[in-house]
Symmetry: C2
Subunit: 214 residues, 2 copies
């Protein structure tokens, strides 16, 4: 029993995601949001609270719509296909995005890294979800013999995560297919089981990087 809203909340949130994704939190002004969403400042504040809470809603929307869907899609397939599909999807979307917006979560991770931020749990949690996806792929692959046992499952999963993050950064500043495909192809090759490898999974003592520690 009151005046109804004149806008579609989902559409407004999509517009907010577009703004924040492209320019980040600080560089997006309320005026930008007003321009992109079409509503007034009063409506924005009334419906979504202040800038921080709107950003939170936009980030949540991005994570569920963007990353959650991708995770769900590729956890259905075979282990190596999961990793490959996920990374190829990221590469293709990156190369097809003329604005080179990268990943909103990675962007937010760097923007909020040095401030005490309410967003850090969301960001770290999202990275943890992705790492868990890779870990699941690796474990299934080590079990069915498609993924190498020469390294610990956690290390391989973190390797995947690092390459994903690296691709996200490189795609923004140097969006060339050769660069992104090359990095991903090498990662995928490194995951494959070698025909002569033993059956024992090695401990993750990280002797490769720190050989002088026992």
């Amino acid at each position: 029993m009151a005046r109804p809203r004149e806008f579609d909340e989902d559409a407004v949130l999509d517009a907010a995601v577009a703004c924040f994704w492209r320019h980040g939190f600080d560089a997006t002004s309320i005026r930008d949001l007003i321009g992109e969403t079409g509503l007034t400042a009063a409506s924005l504040y009334n419906a979504f609270g202040d800038k921080r809470s709107l950003f939170r809603l936009a980030l949540e929307r991005y994570i569920e719509g963007g990353i959650g869907q991708r995770l769900a899609r590729y956890q259905e397939v075979s282990p190596l296909e999961g990793v490959r599909g996920y990374l190829r999807d990221v590469v293709e979307r990156s190369l097809n995005d003329p604005a080179n917006k990268g990943c909103m979560v990675v962007n937010a991770a760097l923007e909020f890294a040095t401030r005490d931020s309410e967003f850090r749990p969301m960001i770290a949690g999202t990275f943890a979800r992705i790492e868990a996806f890779f870990l699941d792929c690796v474990r299934r692959g080590q079990h069915d013999g498609s993924v190498t046992r020469a390294l610990a499952d956690e290390d391989l999963a973190r390797h995947c995560l690092a390459v994903l993050m690296g691709v996200r950064v490189l795609a923004r500043i140097r969006p060339e297919r050769a660069v992104l495909d090359g990095a991903v192809a090498a990662l995928l090759r490194s995951l494959e089981a070698r025909p002569d490898e033993g059956l024992l999974i090695s401990r993750n003592d990280h002797a490769e990087i720190r050989p002088d520690t026992p």
Copy 2:
């Protein structure tokens, strides 16, 4: 034949690097710089121009002092040692930095990615220098037999670059030794030559990621 400056320009630039490194360009205010350097706004503007030109000087200083020195140090050693030393250095410094500032160039890359920026050539050029370093390591290693020939040198170098970028991102939001060491250890293992591998260096057709293209 005029009043001399009362400050040490190098010390002031170091303070500017500290500010911009920690908070980025936008989030660093002139007042922050005044507080950190001890100069007045008039002296800052008189000596270094506006905020953008000061940032340029700070970024140049960071690149030469931080990255250039590291590149020089590790291009003297054996191929795999070069890659390992470079990445271990980055990991150790990341874990020892309580502020988790990451890499100023990576931070700047994401901050300026979507604006038309005078800084992009500096940033992309720095990434290209690092990639060239990795490529040199890989080529020398493929020549002396320490690095795998199963993948093209450029792909392996880009793989190193991607992991480096990934480590830089992860170190800011999840600065745990296990994560960073694990990712790097897996990368280093993937570079090693396998005892049974052929002598031919494969073309970089990236069939691992894009198997359905000829």
